[in-house]
Assembly symmetry: C2
Homo-oligomer: 260 residues x 2
């Protein structure tokens, strides 16, 4: 098996090193990831400027690694569209510094790398650790990632569906098990911060506190990690609200004529 590893924290982040190392016993491992930190990059596709790719020395024996000037999903696209000649069987992304839960998914570069993989019809799993700190410890999450891949949970998913895995920040022997979850409800605490530059012109930060969320609703990703479980959420790129289709049809919209 040939496993492509990407992330959004940058090719030298400790989380991707831990993830690549955990994949080595399972197959051939190739890393293609952004050169720099691209947290909250979203599913950006770089079309109007060219991309650079550089071979980098990676601290895991036997792993070939490249840094790119693109986004996380550009990195996956580059690899799958032919920069990596040998066929790829699985794409894993992470281990992200900090969780990707609730409405974080469309912001997340880590999860967007997995979106890109399933668009190109490769199975994909995104891994995130529920710890935002600089000195977060990735060993337990990497072992969980190894187990998730070894269990082949990514097999037999429908097209355009990936797995989003969030691991609580606990030692391995304190993690209570796996939960299959749904997206929970994030609460963002962003605040607009205005500053003045040396010439007195304003500029703005999107600041405020880290996101929180509803950890009390059983069965959600936010609940599971709060309870000490690994959260595994199947994610589908079909974002259609089928319930609302029925509502709008009941309101007779589909019979409305265009007013001329």
């Amino acid at each position: 098996m040939h496993i492509l590893v990407s992330n959004d924290d940058g090719v030298m982040a400790p989380g991707i090193v831990a993830l690549a190392r955990a994949m080595v016993p399972l197959g051939k491992v190739t890393v293609v990831a952004p050169s720099d930190n691209q947290s909250a990059a979203g599913h950006r596709k770089t079309m109007h400027k060219p991309l650079r790719v550089n071979r980098v020395k990676f601290p895991v024996e036997g792993v070939t690694a490249y840094s790119t000037s693109g986004s996380p999903s550009d990195s996956v696209a580059l690899a799958l569209l032919g920069f990596i000649a040998e066929p790829i069987d699985l794409v894993v992304s992470g281990i992200n510094r900090g969780p990707n839960q609730g409405q974080d998914l469309t912001y997340s570069g880590t999860v967007s790398a997995a979106f890109e993989a399933v668009i190109w019809r490769k199975p994909a799993v995104a891994f995130s650790l529920c710890d935002h700190s600089e000195d977060a410890e990735y060993d337990a999450a990497a072992e969980i990632a190894r187990q998730v891949v070894a269990l082949k949970l990514y097999e037999n998913l429908p097209p355009l569906t990936l797995l989003n895995v969030n691991v609580p920040a606990l030692p391995l022997d304190e993690i209570r098990g796996f939960k299959i979850t749904r997206q929970g409800l994030r609460q963002y605490n962003d605040e607009l911060v205005e500053r003045l530059d040396p010439s007195g012109r304003p500029y703005y930060w999107i600041g405020g506190g880290a996101p929180t969320g509803d950890v009390t609703e059983e069965g959600t990703d936010l609940w599971a990690t709060d309870q000490g479980y690994v959260s595994i959420t199947p994610i589908d790129l079909d974002m259609t609200s089928y319930a609302v289709i029925k509502d709008l049809e009941a309101r007779g919209i589909a019979e409305l004529k265009i007013a001329l």
Copy 2:
């Protein structure tokens, strides 16, 4: 009613001018949009650098407009987090040059601006015209946008749900009506193009043809516009695959213990 208008093609693109002009009869209109073209920006959140905002002269009487150095969703966040002091009742985004259908949604800056709006609990509608050309004609799509907003289709949607509207590139009297649709199946035709710089080092473009897709599957966004209808797709930020949750639970994953 106070309507915020944003987009991803940049504050001076003809599509946003047409959309803002179409909103003027319906309420007070404020434009906050990226200064430059940010097609395929995704749902990027700018956290590690500050944002600039500049008042710009906008070619529609009575409309106050600002350009930002951020992404489309940053522009919406800036406005909703307080840069625009007067409360906003509705966020509209577009009119995008080119459709946003199928798996385009997470790439789309236009749709991501609407994601951001519903995250901050404002109703939102994204508008796109199925014409990629430089000289696309936005008048019919702008009139459709006016009718969609005047019909108040954005009201009474569940939380975190928006409307994604795609308009066929036809004169108004040739558009056949509205269809409530689901996301269809996009086909991307990207190719990796390698070039050499003057010093002989390679660089890469994500090139290839424009996306195509399955226009034969009745009820999808791709089918509706191909048939000459306005496509209105309700989109939910909950991307959970509930069907796959059942499959994974049936496979006994939730009872698996962590191997120590």
